[in-house]
């Protein structure tokens, strides 16, 4: 695959997704970032998975100001391009259709995002805790910014002066 061929992939993705694309960007030949709307999201993922033959590497959730951003990283193995499908899930409902419903590979990662960020995946086959203990308090999402405990706090052995 030459770089030109890789750059052409964004056109393929664009035509496959049709009207669902809000914006598409290809900063480097092997990375595509596609933004779709929240309500189109599972449908778009289905297209990438079934029509384009994407392998779901994983998905990332991250907190932006008034939404949780979801990024599903699909590896298009034949095109040798990583296609990142993004959407913004608006606070405070934080509800989005589940990809795990038709793609078993997304099952676990959606469970993880649900417990870490409090996103509800509608239609998820098995919405239980994955990593956190079962008795973890409700409404306490460790990866959110408002989670009380800050990482990296140390109580040192001696009081050091950091130059």
């Amino acid at each position: 695959m030459t770089d030109e061929q890789k750059y052409a992939v964004s056109e393929i993705v664009k035509s496959a997704l049709g009207g669902m694309v809000v914006s598409i960007d290809q900063p480097r030949p092997n990375r595509i970032y596609v933004l779709v709307d929240q309500k189109d999201f599972p449908a778009a993922a289905k297209v990438v998975y079934e029509q384009l033959g994407g392998r779901l590497a994983t998905s990332t959730a991250l907190e932006v100001r008034d939404a949780v951003e979801l990024i599903y990283h699909f590896m298009l193995e034949t095109e040798m391009v990583l296609c990142n499908l993004k959407t913004l899930v608006m606070k405070p409902e934080l509800k989005v259709g589940s990809v795990g419903a038709f793609l078993p590979g997304a099952d676990w990662i959606e469970r993880e995002m649900a417990e870490m960020y409090g996103v509800t995946f509608e239609g998820h086959p098995d919405p239980r805790h994955l990593l956190l203990p079962d008795g973890w308090p409700e409404g306490n999402y460790p990866m959110r910014k408002d989670f009380p405990q800050q990482p990296g706090t140390e109580s040192g052995e001696t009081k050091p002066v950091v130059y």
Binding site: E154, G156, E157, T158, K159, P160, V161, V162, Y163
Partner: protein
Amino acid sequence: MEQAQVKTEERRVIINLDRCIGCSSCRVACSRTHQTDMNLTQAFAEPVAAFPAHCRHCENPACAAACPKDAILKCEDGIVRRFAFRCIGCKSCSIACPFGAIQPEHMRNIIMKCDLCYKRLDEGQLPACVTTCVSGALSFEDPEKVIDGNLAGARIKAKPGMRRW
């Protein structure tokens, strides 16, 4: 001796290379004082001599800046110390130190580093290496007063011995 007047942080172990005979007694003394850690690194001026490469306890230590785990810190008394439990053996400090004064401890997979024998200083004793040096090459003084061209690095192109990778 005059340690009562001078604060710890102003004195360092100074090596006079004209006197050093490369006997390594200082390393043995350092190792004995610190149980198993051989805190003192050996430097080589090939093919002439091997001599101790003491930690300078820098003003702004490069080793501490490089440590990802804050395992090396400059403490209130001016001594740059390594905290064994925090060290993860990544040896970034060893790469960062411009004097090659840090050497990995091969057994425990952490690094070791001169701590200026701070326990002995608290008891009013000189550092172990200084007391042991047979030829009087080591002294424990305020570097400002003795800079006369004797310092390691000023005369010989030092080549740190332990950087094998």
